[in-house]
């Protein structure tokens, strides 16, 4: 049992060393350039080595049930120091942040973008009730709790939110380390993107803000302060935004869009449920 944890620890040290030695890699695509930080390599390496096809022999010992369980049970505690660090980033800038406090509150409404962008697309490609669960929000714990309470997780709405939860858990970090620099290249201000980083998931916020820092290092304290403040606000207001704004907006849009098209329930719907 103890030996198991030692293996896990040594493995973690090796992965960290590898990720840090790869360092930050920048790739350019025309006008856009993205940078992958060691944190992205760390999650990529551990996920790829954990793929069932690759997880053979000694790797099976590393990814033992006990070790995977340990990691998911205590991940939140391993993350706590990061949160403590964010507090120290907000404190010195609190006055400045409160000065534009209304902007922070206003941009919380931007989280409705999940419904506005996501729902039309979901309906267009033939999702129906799954779309309710998959577009209500980022599909983190808040949405999961709401949907499971209202529809249960076995329902189609529940499947929608669960799928989004799984996808977000697996690819959220990578996604946000890619989108942040692209938005910067489009011409958004780094302060605005820092605020937008507070999407409600700590790892996605960290991926986005860390990538922004990589691109604009002289703004490090502002980026961290703004991102953390916005994240905290999302943790406080997120539930209200969802229940009082996202839910009614989603219902309105859903009825409007499904009525005008007058499409019968598509069979694809049934297939997706399998």
């Amino acid at each position: 049992m103890k030996r198991n944890y030692v293996i896990l620890l040594v493995f973690a040290l090796i992965v960290i060393t590898a990720a840090e030695m790869i360092g930050t890699q920048s790739l350019s695509f025309g006008a856009f350039s993205i940078s992958l930080l060691p944190l992205a390599f760390a999650i990529l390496i551990t996920m790829i080595l954990g793929l069932p096809v690759i997880r053979k022999g000694f790797l099976k010992k590393i990814y033992s049930k006990a070790n995977v369980q340990f990691s998911s049970k205590y991940l939140i505690f391993i993350m706590l120091p990061l949160m403590a660090r964010y507090g120290a980033d907000v404190a010195p800038q609190l006055r400045e942040i409160l000065n534009v406090g209304w902007v922070f509150i206003a941009q919380e409404l931007g989280n409705l973008g999940t419904v506005l962008f996501g729902l039309p697309v979901a309906l267009l490609i033939g999702l129906r009730r799954e779309a309710i669960g998959a577009t209500l929000g980022l599909g983190r714990e808040g949405e999961l709790a709401y949907i499971s309470e209202k529809y249960t997780l076995e329902s189609k709405e529940g499947q929608g939110v669960l799928s989004l939860y799984i996808i977000g858990t697996l690819f959220g970090t990578i996604f946000f380390s890619l989108i942040a620099p692209i938005m910067l290249d489009i011409g958004f201000r780094v302060e605005a993107l820092a605020m937008a980083s507070g999407v409600g998931s700590a790892s996605m916020m960290t991926a986005s803000s860390a990538t922004l820092i990589e691109r604009v290092p002289e703004m490090e304290s502002t980026i961290l302060g703004y991102a953390a403040a916005s994240q905290l606000l999302t943790s406080f207001l997120g539930t209200f935004t969802m229940v009082f704004l996202a839910v009614p907006l989603q219902r309105f849009l859903y009825n409007k869009l499904t009525k005008t098209k007058k499409q019968p329930e598509v069979p694809a719907d049934v297939r997706a449920a399998e």
């Binding site: 930080l37 990061l82 989280n111 605005a192």
Partner: protein, 161 residues
């Protein structure tokens, strides 16, 4: 009571492990790039500060679960740690200074290492999700980010910042 103590002892150890990993990562960063954040005595002080704030946040989160106010009960533990740190850092500059000696990115690599390990058994669940939700996810994630960025941009413009 002893079960309680035992629980916090365990949490304390895990957070200590996290500290050790951060220190290790910062040292490796230094080997790769000698110009990155150095490892000094203040780094240790900074790490101890992070540990202390984390523990206070954990206790606070458990205490708040006993209050009758729903929003306080449901506020996540991660949030309580950030609030604790924010509050104490406002009153004691020393904390801000010490934490500044801990490299930000060195905190993130160990976390994502364990995040990766923790999700591997869910990789098979991907088969249960439809590719359609995969497409929707891209728009959902982009939607919240772009939505907030547009409003922030507009807000900062109006605030003349």
């Amino acid at each position: 009571m002893s079960v309680q103590l035992n629980k916090y002892f365990k949490y304390g150890l895990v957070i200590l492990l996290s500290m050790a990993l951060i220190l290790f990562t910062q040292q490796i960063k230094l080997l790769k790039d000698p110009a990155s954040t150095p490892v000094e005595w203040m780094t240790i002080m900074g790490l101890l500060t992070l540990w202390l704030f984390s523990m206070i946040g954990v206790l606070l989160s458990d205490l708040m679960k006993k209050t009758p106010i729903k929003i306080l009960q449901e506020f996540p533990m991660l949030g309580w740690v950030a609030v604790t740190s924010l509050f104490l850092c406002m009153f004691f500059d020393f904390f801000v200074e010490a934490i500044g000696y801990v490299d930000f990115l060195a905190i993130t690599t160990p976390i994502l290492t364990f995040a990766g390990i923790s999700v591997v058994d869910r990789l098979v669940d991907l088969r249960k999700t439809s590719w359609k939700v995969g497409i929707v996810a891209v728009f959902v994630f982009t939607g919240t980010y772009v939505g907030s960025a547009l409003l922030s941009e507009l807000g900062l413009f109006l605030a003349n910042k």
